[in-house]
Amino acid sequence: MLEIRRDVVDAIIAHARRDHPDEACGVVAGPVGSDRPERLVPMANAERSPTFYRFDSLEQLKVWREMDDRDEEPVVIYHSHTATEAYPSRTDVSYASEPNAHYVLVSTRSIDDGAPEVRSYRIVDGEVTEEEVRVVTDAGDMTRGPKDTERGIAAV
């Protein structure tokens, strides 16, 4: 399960909307071992493509070093799919290289009709497991409607 604050989810969605039709990508860092995604770091998509993303290598070094200095790790690695569903592609699976991260996918394919789809997965040793997304308000309350536990957040 991924537990994530409302404002962080909103910021991820805003990033995906901003970069649409290119894929957006980024990280949410949190204290090592905490499983708490706390600090959003939107990254530039060095590919600037509607179907592929890649962190710029020097930007990635800077962000990874910063996390190391702060005793953080990448708790969430997110990116958007702009014309397909919010499900990891074969490419996503083959390049997934942070075994402890939650891989969050946002689909902006229906961006004109409604809210983007946000779903989360574990990708370990080539295997994808979808997980529940639990959105928490800043006050610490759980806000979770009946739809939210089905397939991530269908409408945000």
Binding site: S49, W64, T91
Partner: protein
């Protein structure tokens, strides 16, 4: 001669869980060969067909060796090498 090599989580299985190991060599390739002698299997994660793997980033101090001389990039005592798997993907199959 000592070069610190920082190893990403996904490759620590080759280093007994260590996040940094020491290596020696006068080029990136030599340092990788040196590490392989003590941490077998590590080289294959970094090198493919005689070149650096496309989706693995290797940095010498603050620079990506792709923009230097790749595997032939010279290395000096006290330098630091960092390995990070590229973060990439997308909907294209």
């Amino acid at each position: 001669m000592s070069i610190e090599v920082r190893i990403p989580t996904i490759m620590r299985q080759y280093t007994g869980g260590e996040k940094a190991v020491d290596g020696a060599g006068d080029t990136i390739a030599a340092v990788i060969d040196d590490l392989e002698s003590r941490h077998p299997g590590l080289r294959e994660r970094l090198v493919d067909n005689g070149g650096l793997r496309r989706f693995v980033n290797v940095y010498l101090n603050d620079e990506d060796v792709r923009f230097l001389d790749g595997l032939k990039t010279p290395v000096a005592d006290g330098d630091s090498v960092t390995v990070l798997p590229a973060v990439a993907g997308g909907s294209a199959r």
